[in-house]
């Protein structure tokens, strides 16, 4: 079943249909779609992670 879904998703565009009217958060004068909010939050999280996670300098280092 999951394989079929994957194949169909590939053939017909997507597994998750995002073509519904968007949801928006209203925060003071800021209005933002959940999609954009997620992207921005992810960027901040990834930036912080990049700085905080140790970059091990040993052979076959962690990835």
């Amino acid at each position: 079943m999951p394989t079929v879904a994957l194949v169909l998703g590939t053939l017909f565009g997507s597994l998750i249909n995002l073509n519904h009217p968007g949801n928006y958060i209203h925060w003071g004068f800021i209005q933002m779609s959940y999609g954009n909010l997620l992207v921005i939050v992810l960027m901040i999280v990834v930036f912080c992670a990049a700085i905080l996670i140790p970059f091990k300098s040993h052979k076959g280092g962690e990835r």
Binding site: L6, G13, S14, I16, L18, Q31, S33, G35, I51
Partner: protein
Amino acid sequence: MSADSATKKVRPFKVDRDAVAWHGRYEPYDLAKEFLIAFVVVCILVAGLAILFGSPDDTPVTVKSWSNNDAVGFATTAATELDGTSGTATYGPPYNLNGTTAGKLGPLNPAKWLGVHHPIDTANDYVLGPLSTLANQPQVQAAVDEYKSATADQQATWTAAYEKAVADAKLTDGKLVVPSGDYGPVATIIAAETAMARSGALDGALLSSRQFYGTDYTKPLLFIADGDYFANLGSAQHLSGDQWGMMNETGQYPGQAWLWLYTLWYQVGPIGSSDNADIMVFSIMIGLTALLALVPFIPGLRSVPRWTRIYRLIWREHYKEVEKGGGSGSPPQQTAGEAKTPVTV
């Protein structure tokens, strides 16, 4: 490349502008392997996101779909194109010379500097011209001729009266019927225009009016954008300027988050509601962009990285080593063979 301090002037060291060259330890770092890993990770991420979410493809609006979904709205807009009161008709450069909606920046009006490059005469291009291409429609041709040969004042009287009445118009047997009144030939013209639009013939006429192989959709797009139907579709998807629309995408897809600062100014009351909003926001963004590009030259702004001390986190291993050892300068140099356990990236 050592500086001959006797003959060369040495600038004072400014910590936010200058950097001391590195003479400390080097570690193996495989750039090619790093690139390949990054490439594979990106490919997997992109494929995964594409399989999960796909991409949006909302059907475009046509004059046909507009007039079939909102015949009265279409007729209202068509009347304003005929009498030259529509948004496009009164836009000014680069479409025509009838006033300007583009706004000023103090005494400057850059919108006018390059003049009219994409001429649009809404009455002829959108209404009278296309109607003249209809074959076997003598009443329509007669109405067009009557309108064209009337005085400007007479035309204005007819269209003003029509525009008051068209809000109460109805579609009866596929024909647009307005409450009775003295509109001269305008009612016939707009009814014919609406019928032409609903059949799809107007879309074709607008595109092929100048050449067979057109790729320039300016005329039909501006006509469609003059109508409320199109504007309402946009605001229903939160795409309007006053809804942070520039950042958004149709549906629930993430949009262009990087445009946040550009669209932000349109949400600021005095700027967003000004007639000169566009040129004001553009000027602000040019200024801020210049600031970003010229950060290295701007004292204060270029000190922010040092003040915020995030660099202490990024380089914490380096500082541990240097500050443990004490003294100034870089950590003691190691010869190539003495490198610590190599980094295989």
